[in-house]
Amino acid sequence: MELINNLALGFGVAFTLTNLLYAFGGALLGTLIGVLPGLGPVATIAMLLPSIYALDATPALIMLAGIYYGAQYGGSTTAILINVPGESSSVVTAIDGYAMARKGRAGAALAAAGLGSFFAGCVGTIVIAAFAPPLTELAFKFGPAEYFSLMVLGLIGAVVLASGSLIKAIAMILLGLLLGQINTDVISGVPRYSFDIPELTDGIGFVTIAMGVFGFGEIIANLGRPAEHREVFTKDVKGLWPTMQDFKDAWPAVLRGTALGSILGVLPGGGALLASFAAYTLEKKSRGRADQVPFGQGNIRGVAGPESANNAGAQTSFIPMLTLGIPPNAVMALMVGAMTIKGIQPGPQVMTSNPELFWGLIASMWVGNAMLVILNLPLIGIWIKLLTVPYRLLYPAILSFCCIGLYTLNNNNFDVYMAVLFGVIGYLFYKLHCEPAPLLLGFILGPMMEENLRRALLLSRGDWTTFATRPLSAGLLAGAVLMIVVVTLPTIRKKREEAFQDEEA
């Protein structure tokens, strides 16, 4: 069977010593940053991008992927133990997880989260392996018009599921698209918006934007808030294993969470965050045993469901990136950037032109997930120690790595100055409540969108209706419109606001 052959190829690649080491390194680093609040996978991957110049493409991507799903694990550990979600996707885990920890059942909660995530990760890997090839086939039928419409759908999808005002989010996408226009026009060779600065004719590096807006902007915003006092609840976690009853309660939740996460992860923009919210809602709605612990007071299903869902979602969000070259979220956007750095044009051809990379990455996801379980359960005590590193020592470290990274991008201090500028802009966004993630997506997709739009118009001799008359393209655009209509409907809008208010609380 082809699937088996492909996976065998992948595991062959993943089980080489170098790749195992990078998968381990990525998973470890990911867990680390997941545990540390205020340091997310986006900032970390952005920081590490300059260093992957020295690596081969396959280990580099394996490591970055490891960081991504490692962060999902690490975030849940702190959410359960000290009620501080390290990642936005583990916000709901904190509700019942922390309640369990306070009742002395932290071990059971952590094990449920870890094993649930592992199961979800395994399923997610198989889902990718099974669905990536047919989707890739479909992708080859895409012309410029379809690609343009798909990107519109992707960008709209990314914002309707995000928090905050819809108009602002769409405006942020447009701003990102416009920033992507600062470059040399590919078709006519005219430098645009460069103000005669030679560095700007190559365009702004997206690492520069990511570090400025996410790295510096966030540090400034954090320092502007009064110092928060974190209270570590428990020094040692006793009783690692859940009881039989816990297993019985948790496994249906794991199954439901995995299914939900696998589906929602593929949707552009949703990924892990939406999956965990949806899974928690689903668990609350579905019936448990009669004498179960109420939700919010330490129900194990409230941990197992969302944790499985966010991991499955994190996994399947690789699908649009790997098959179409279209990133569904900011982390994937950075992965696309990493591929471009390594000279690989992301898109449907990756599977045929770089099969080792493609299947190796997929297989390494499973390997990485297995490592994470082994890594996390015994090492929980150490992760807690890390939390005692105060922010006043942590942020100069983040700054140091950002600065060195920025300088080494082009061995030029121009990128450092640009990042300073984007730091100001990032803080402005924070103050005006403008979510910066859509900007990064727009920025990445900007040049691609323009090229496809102009090619589509050339082919149709300037006829804009080509986007609506080609069936695939029309379907994709209809999907985008539908999404906007659905979220602006009053009832759903209210639900959406509620969901994101829970997050902030």
Partner: protein
């Protein structure tokens, strides 16, 4: 006219101005026609669209009541200036003074942005960070970064 939501007002203003700015800039490039779009075609459209959304946001900010006027709140001037100054200085100083001087300097200055600044911890942090950076970036990844002030010669 009273501003109902300060954040939305300024966000809308920002989008409006940036949109107009980009659209205006796009007019200096050849626009082409729909059949043969030029380099100014896409940015002009995007800029106009952004300006329209900015205007809508402005209109909302002036008409729809929000809780407590949604004020922007105080600006954290100290971290803003200190952090960005430290980073900017890093950019200026690195090619001239080398990493061994520049990085601790950056750490010292940026640490001052925190309310809990202490000399001892900061110096220790700087020592740890320069050692780690040397191990990771110079030894580990063999990146080419100037290490010492250029007056000492080689600059490696």
């Amino acid at each position: 006219m009273k501003i109902k939501s300060e954040r939305d007002f300024w966000a809308g203003m920002m989008f409006l101005l940036v949109g107009i700015g980009f659209a205006w800039g796009a007019t200096t490039y050849s626009f082409g026609s729909s059949a043969r779009p030029g380099p100014g075609y896409f940015p002009f459209g995007l800029g106009m669209l952004l300006a329209v959304l900015g205007a809508v946001e402005l209109f909302k900010a002036l008409t729809i009541e929000s809780e407590g006027g949604d004020p922007i709140g105080g600006i954290a001037w100290k971290p803003l200036i200190v952090i960005l100054f430290a980073v900017g200085l890093f950019g200026v100083a690195l090619p001239r003074l080398g990493l061994v001087i520049t990085l601790p300097l950056m750490v010292l200055i940026s640490s001052w942005a925190s309310d809990e600044f202490s000399w001892k911890a900061t110096v220790a942090n700087a020592v740890v960070l320069i050692t780690m950076s040397w191990l990771i970036f110079i030894k580990g990844l063999s990146l080419i970064i100037p290490m010492w002030p250029t007056i000492f010669g080689a600059g490696t």
